[in-house]
């Protein structure tokens, strides 16, 4: 018959580790190239601009016209204007935080894809954890209530005898 494929756990594990290491090395390399290409793609970026930093900043800014794109990805007129503002502010030596604040001052926190924690958005940040806590609390209460309601009463000798007799009958019925 066919060749017997023997399962060799050690060899498989070695292969998995090598694959994982290769991927870990390759992914940042690949994504780094992609970032550089993305950021360099739009025309009109003056030479000498730190395109990687430009991409990092604009990827966290929402395009107000096409709301599910970042300013880095969008080719809408306003997105290009805002990207040019970021380039200008970078040229003035402004920090990332200052540049983002410039956008928030004009367009509100909505422009940030990663807005800071505040009272108005606090429920969004805390809500999921709050739901988990409530869920765990409800589950524990339910389990405790069930455990209390159903006491594990031991069977008396007569009950056990009756149960076993019924079990014997049932199995003989099935086999006959």
């Amino acid at each position: 018959m066919g060749a017997v494929v023997r399962f060799r756990p050690l060899a498989l594990a070695r292969f998995a580790v090598m694959l994982a290491v290769t991927l870990m090395l390759a992914v940042p390399l690949l994504s780094g190239v992609a970032v550089a290409e993305d950021a360099a793609a739009p025309a009109g970026i003056p030479p000498g601009t730190d395109v990687v930093r430009l991409h990092e900043i604009t990827a966290d800014l929402r395009c107000l016209v096409c709301q599910n794109q970042s300013i880095a990805d969008s080719h809408a007129g306003l997105a290009i204007d805002l990207r040019n503002q970021v380039i200008k502010l970078m040229g003035q030596g402004k920090s990332d935080a200052e540049i983002k604040q410039y956008m928030v001052d004009r367009y509100g926190e909505f422009v940030l894809y990663d807005p800071p924690f505040s009272i108005s958005n606090g429920l969004l940040w805390v809500g999921p954890f709050l739901l988990v806590v409530i869920g765990v609390w409800v589950a524990r209460r339910t389990i405790a209530a069930r455990a209390a309601a159903a006491p594990a009463a031991a069977l008396s000798a007569a009950e056990r005898e009756a149960l076993e007799a019924r079990y014997r009958n049932a199995t003989t019925d099935e086999t006959s």
Binding site: V65, G77, D81, R106, Y107, G108, F110
Partner: protein
Amino acid sequence: MPSNLRVILPLLVLAALAVVFVIGLQGDPRKLPSVFIDKPAPAFSLPELSEGKPVVTPESLRGKVWLLNVFASWCQACVAEHPHLLELAKQNRVELVGLAYKDEPEDTRAWLAARGNPYSRIAVDRDGLVGIDYGVYGVPETFVIDGNGVIRYKAVGPVDEGFFREHVEPLLAQGGK
């Protein structure tokens, strides 16, 4: 937990969620709250569309209620609101200032010549930088600015008959402050 509550509670939660979703779906996600409400109108100094007129600045309009209407010849929705702006100009109760946003002055002039000019002054914002300072993200937008130079309201999209009555009349009734 009583058993009737056990049945009713999930239904109540569902009903509450439904109410939240219905409210959430009412608004237009494109209409963003402006961060400039009750803040001073950002300063600018822009050339007038009509050559020879002095530059347009918010300071020069201090002391009266004025509207800053962001428009452009390439803007379709501006055509829709234009008759309302002409009507406002005819009533002549507030100063209507235009901000020609990212538009070639010749195009703006031709557009206004064809449709009528409702503006008392027109600031030319060719590169749209003043628009950015005002948080403009679509055209048309209309800012209501009071006598103290504070932005009181911003309309996103074309204005209609209700706009003046709801957002400008009350301000005029208070003396523009």
